[in-house]
Every structure is written in structure tokens, then in C-alpha cells.
């Protein structure tokens, strides 16, 4: 096992895959000369040269579409959005082109492409730079959406995403790039898409959380453990397709669930999880499903407001106690 930063794990995944397959290239704003806005692609220009690590102008619609065309014509692009907040100027490329052309062509074309970059809140950046985009992209048939929580998951899932023949939206986090964690030394370490991870087993309550919220879930589980309750923590890892089977099996055991979701609450991933639970495990529920989300407002700037905006461990802990009736 090696201890890697999250950004290093992501880089390792890209590097290993690019060494393996000449058709893979990395394109995005400041990924080459600048070594990546968050230093994720540091050194990759030197290793792979300007043909395969390519800087773009600030032109998301253009270079996202370029990546899609390249994928359509046989390459396997990795398109980096400096953050997913900027992906919406290219939204039509993801919604109408990469997700639908395969379908509209009756399956003649495939899109082995990864759109990756940091997602969600990253501090006092105000409303436009703090959007959690999971539900926007997970809503679209034709896309897959992945959200790793640890450096090891980041590496294993990104390698799977790059090898996947379908388009994958791969959501990282500015806040997590510096996070260190043990990463498997295994040759060609890969984690399959569409499989949830039961991080910790328990019978008192199921907590579902991904990305930064994964760490809140672990903190809450620790506090509950001090209270004498064993929470089951599930990290979906892949948002679309979500591994509902694993979540439902857990609910059948614990009879209650709290979802922690950094997105705005309305029509979010947490909404869908709660819906699936009520539909597939209704008779196993001993309490309503609760969720802890960002507030239903744009992200504010002021520090106290921003802290209040984000899902908090205290709220998640309280939610767990409520559904456990303790």
C-alpha cells in the first residue's frame, strides 16, 4: 500500500491508462503547461508530450464537443473541466450529444469519454462556483456518473471509467485533492462502476453518503458508536447507475436510513434514494427516510452563512437519532 493524495491517485489512474492505450488523451484548460489548475495533471505534459496533454482556451462548449467528436471517431478522450461549475456552458454537449447520439443512431456510435473535474462546494466562492452537479447529469439516460470518496476509490474508479465504453461524468472535489489515503499497490487496480461500497457494517441505521459527505457519515457513525449504536455506512461510489440493491438490502436490516447529500435538496440524488427505498423496502421501514442536504438556496459567500448552507455532521447525527427513535 502506498499513501497518496487524492490528486496523485487521479493522476496515477490517468497515467497508467495513457501508458496502456495510445488513444487516450487529456484535454482541458491549463492541464498541460500549467500542470493543471489543481495540479492533478502535474508532469503529464512532460511524460506524454503536447499531442496527448492538450491545453484549451476557455471554451468549454468547444472542447467538450471536440472531445465528443474525437470519441465518435475512435479516440478515448479525458476532458477536464476546471470545475464542473463551468460544465454548464457545455451542457448541451453532454445532454444532447454525448448522451443521445448513440441512441439516435441506433447504436452505431459509442462514446468512450470521461468528463472529469472537481464538483460541488469548495468554500467561500459564492453561488456560481459551488454547485453540486450530481443530479443534473445523473438525470440523463446515456451518461454514467461516478463520485469517488477516497484516493483509492478515485484511482480504481477512474481507471474503470476510462476503460468504460460509455460516457462517464467523474466528479472530484477541490477540498479532497490534498486528502491522503492508502492506495492499493495492486497492478491494474480497478473498482467496478455501479457497485456500492459498504464502508462499515451495522444494524442501527443506514447512512448513505458520497464524496465529501462520506467523511461526515464516518464521523456520525463514530459518534453513534460511542452512544452504543452500530451504523451501517454505504458509499454508492457510482451515482448512475446507483447500486440500489445494496442500499435496499441494508435497509431491510436496519429499517431506517439517513442520506447525506451536498446538493440542493429538490429533485436531488437524495430524493431518488428515498423514493427507491419507499418503493422497494416500504414494509421494512420503521421510520421515514431522512436526508441532510445543502439548504434550498444558492450558496452564499459569508463564512457563517456558507457553513450553515452545507450539510453538517451535527444535523446528520440528529437525523440518525430521530429515525432510531432515541
Amino acid at each position: 500500500m502506498a499513501e497518496l493524495q487524492f490528486r496523485e491517485a487521479i493522476r496515477a489512474a490517468m497515467t497508467e491508462e495513457m501508458e496502456r492505450d495510445e488513444d487516450i488523451f487529456l484535454i482541458g484548460e491549463e492541464v498541460a503547461e500549467y500542470d493543471g489548475a489543481y495540479k492533478v495533471s502535474q508532469g503529464m505534459l512532460d511524460q506524454f508530450g503536447p499531442k496527448r496533454v492538450i491545453d484549451t482556451p476557455i471554451s468549454e462548449n468547444g472542447f467538450a464537443g471536440l472531445g465528443i467528436g474525437a470519441a465518435m471517431n475512435g479516440l478515448r478522450p479525458i476532458v477536464e473541466f476546471m470545475t464542473f461549475n463551468f460544465s454548464f456552458v457545455a451542457f448541451d454537449q453532454l445532454l444532447n450529444n454525448v448522451a443521445k447520439i448513440r441512441y439516435m443512431s441506433g447504436g452505431q456510435f459509442s462514446f468512450p469519454i470521461v468528463f472529469r473535474g472537481p464538483n460541488g462546494a469548495a468554500g467561500q466562492l459564492a453561488a456560481t462556483h459551488n454547485t453540486s452537479v450530481e443530479s443534473f447529469y445523473a438525470h440523463i439516460p446515456g451518461l454514467k456518473v461516478v463520485s469517488p470518496s477516497t484516493p483509492e476509490d478515485g484511482k480504481g474508479l477512474l481507471k474503470a471509467a476510462i476503460r468504460d465504453d460509455d460516457p462517464v461524468v467523474f466528479l472530484e472535489s477541490e477540498r479532497m485533492y490534498g486528502l491522503k489515503g492508502e492506495v492499493s499497490d495492486e497492478d491494474d487496480f480497478i473498482l467496478p462502476l455501479g457497485k456500492a461500497h459498504i464502508v462499515q457494517e451495522g444494524d442501527a441505521v443506514t447512512i448513505v453518503a458520497n464524496g465529501k459527505d462520506y467523511y461526515i457519515a464516518l464521523e456520525v457513525a463514530d459518534r453513534l458508536s460511542e452512544d452504543g449504536y452500530q451504523a451501517e455506512v454505504i458509499d454508492p461510489r457510482t451515482i448512475r447507475p446507483m447500486d440500489f440493491d445494496t442500499i435496499i438490502e441494508s435497509i431491510k436490516k436496519t429499517n431506517r436510513c439517513v442520506v447525506i447529500d451536498e446538493s440542493n435538496p429538490f429533485a436531488s440524488i437524495s430524493s431518488e434514494i428515498a423514493f427507491q427505498i419507499q418503493e422497494r423496502a416500504f414494509d421494512y421501514l420503521d421510520a421515514p427516510v431522512k436526508r441532510v442536504t445543502a439548504k434550498d438556496v444558492p450558496a452564499p459567500y459569508a463564512k457563517n452563512l456558507m457553513d450553515y448552507y452545507m450539510p453538517q455532521a451535527d444535523d446528520a447525527y440528529e437525523a440518525c437519532r430521530q429515525v432510531m427513535y432515541v
Binding site: N255, F282, D283, Y284, L285, D286, A287, Q322, Y325
Partner: protein
Amino acid sequence: MAIPVDMPKLSDTMEEGVLVAWLADEGDELSAGDVIAQVETDKATMDLEVFDDGVLLKKVVEEGEAVDIGALIAVLGEEGEDISDILAEFGEGDSDGKAEAQEAEDEEPEAEEADVGGDGAPEDAEVVASETEDATPGTVAADDNGRIKASPLARRIASENELDIAQIDGSGPHGRIIKRDVEAALEDRDAAPAERKAPAKERRADVATIEDEEFYEAIPLSQMRKTIARRLAESKYTAPHFYLTIDVDMERVVSFRKKINELAEEQERAKISFNDIITKACAVALREHPEVNSAYLEKEGEIRHYKQVHIGVAVAIDEGLVTPVIRNADRKGLATIAEETRELAGRARDRKLAPEEMEGSTFTTSNLGMFGIEEFTAIINPPSACILAIGAIRDEPVVQDGEIVPGKRMKVTLSCDHRVVDGAVGSGFLSTLRSFLEDPMNLLL
């Protein structure tokens, strides 16, 4: 070979088009792409082109006519060609129509089946409702509507263990019964099985209660019973009732009736009942008091004074009560009223009245005189504002010109919806009614 030109689909939402103008004449030589007419769609006026070469043999549609998509507009072909086949084919456009009608008919039974299914559904609903009601008494978790708050899991465990969830106290928020409550109840039961189950049965012999099945016969609620219950409860709870009673001298009505019934016997007509006379008297009196011939319509935000007088006559039948309506009773003669009432009442008892024959009354009467009831109050039949409860005609000593003489008296009580009819208004109507009954010859005018 002749070519039919049919109404094209010129927009995505178009269903029919109006042929606004012909731009070609019969006999014109046409080439593909030539515009022969203008067609107005739901979106725009468009040119109608032909897609083939040929002579315009026949215009089938007149200018201004609306034509369904696919219907024949014109026929192209070679000069002098016989087009009867095409006309026949599209003449069967009618038969297409018939085919559609046939399809529609074919669909109808399905619709009926669906209705049957629909009938089934309320029964299911009934079952559910009664279950919840059964569960109601004595539970902490039941809310005002008798619904028990229990988590789905708690319900499932209780049901799997044949545990009556209504008997369990809930410890969750708002008294919700949750898993641990059911588990506790199960433990209790398992701990003391002998005490709980068996004695319940033994006790029945000594402490039998009215709820025990052997003490009653359960009559399922019929649709009619439920409707009566709902409508009358709604009336009594929403319309503030007040009651006005008068005692009417029926002396002259009795002799009046005797005379016209003798006449009726000679002419072999149906006899007139007291009720018919009262119906007629009410109808004529209502014409003078439109504010009594009225309804309070909260949703529409208005009171309606009806210009026509339709009297609902309450008829007792085995399953309950129906009120067939004598329409325009003020304008009908006594004989007609008598005939109609008898005919409607007869069919009412056979349950053969059409719903519309029981709807639309503007005033109602209910007569229990034949049962010897002297007086009573009736519940208003919504949306009418008033109902008249008619008692028996009594032989009674009355004071006339300072002397006590035998008299004929009848009490009637008007129930009024106070939202529409005030005391003075109701009294005014009763006063007019009395004047007609005490001088019934006026009814013939």
C-alpha cells in the same frame, strides 16, 4: 389510372383542414408540384400541391368545407377516365366512418367493464375503511380520523404475528407505533399466552356485550343507504334549519276532493289524493314566493331563485327513500299531477326511476299523514331551500262562529334553510299555502 388527392397533414397538430379556395378547375392539366387549392390548417393557410401529373377530373369538396385528414378532396387522372372506383372507395370513406363507429362500439363493452371495475373499487375502499374503523377504539396512536400511526415495518411484524396493532401503544413521534413497540407487545404475549388468549373466550359467556356477533344481524350498507346518509347529514350539518308550523283548516279540501273524485269516477280517471292537492297548492304558492323556491349555492357564490317550480315528492320504498320530481307542477292540472305522481311512485318502488327523474327539484314535500303522524320536521333535500312536512288530517272540534263544531285540520311544518329563507319569508309562503288549501277552488284557476 386515376389518382385520389386526399386531405394532407399539413402540420403536426392538424386534424382537419378547410378547403379555402380552389386554384384549379376540373379539366385542367396538372403536373406534380402544381398548387390546386389553398387549405387552412390550425396553424396557417397552406398551398395544396399535387404529387402526380394528370387532369383534374373531379373536385369532391366545396370551397369552405372542413375535411378530415385522409378524406378525398379531388381526383386526378386521364381525360375521360372512369373514377367511380375511387369515389366508391372513398364513399366507403363513410364505411370507414362506419368501421370507426364499429370500433367505438367494440370499445364500449370495455368501457362498461371498466365501469364494473370502478364499481368494484369503492367496495375495496369500503373494506379498507371498515378495517381502519375496526382498529379505531382505544388506541393511543389513532388520530381523529381513526387512522393508526404505525411504521410500515411495525404493521408488517404485527400482521405476521397476528397481533392487533390497535391494541399497541406507540412510543414514536406523535404516538407512532414502531418496531420496538410491536416487539414489546410480542414479548408480553409470548410471556403470558395462557392468560391472554384463552380467557378472552371464556369471559364472553358471562360478560357478553352488545358488540358480540350473536346479538345482532349485520346488514351491509347499500349504496342508497350510504347516499341518504351522506346527503342528509350534509344537509343537516351545513344548512341551518329552522321550522315553521301552521294548522290548516282542511274542511273545504275534503269536500272539494270528494266532488272531483266523483267526477273522476264517472270519467274513469285516476283519483286525486290529498297529497296531489297539497302538491298543487305548494306549487302555486311557490310561484308567488320565488325566494322560497330557491337554493343556496356557496361554491357559485349565489342564491338562485328558480323561475320554474319542480316539486320533489318523497316516496318511501323498501331500501329507503326517493324523491321523484313533478316538473312544472304549478302549470299542471290536478289530474296530471295525480297521474304523474302515481306513475313515478310506482316506478320508484320498482327501482326503475332514471336518475334525472329524481334530480332538479326546487322544493320538496314529505307526507307521513297516512301513518297517522300529526306533525313532524323534515330534513331539507339539498340544494332546495325548503321542505314541507305534512301531517295527518285530523277530526277535531273547532270553534266556529262561537260554537264548537266538528272540523278537519292538518298541521304542516316548513323546514327552512336560514341561509336563504328568513322567518318572515317562510311565514309568507305558508300563509299563501293556507289560503289555497282553505279555498281550494282557487287551485283550478
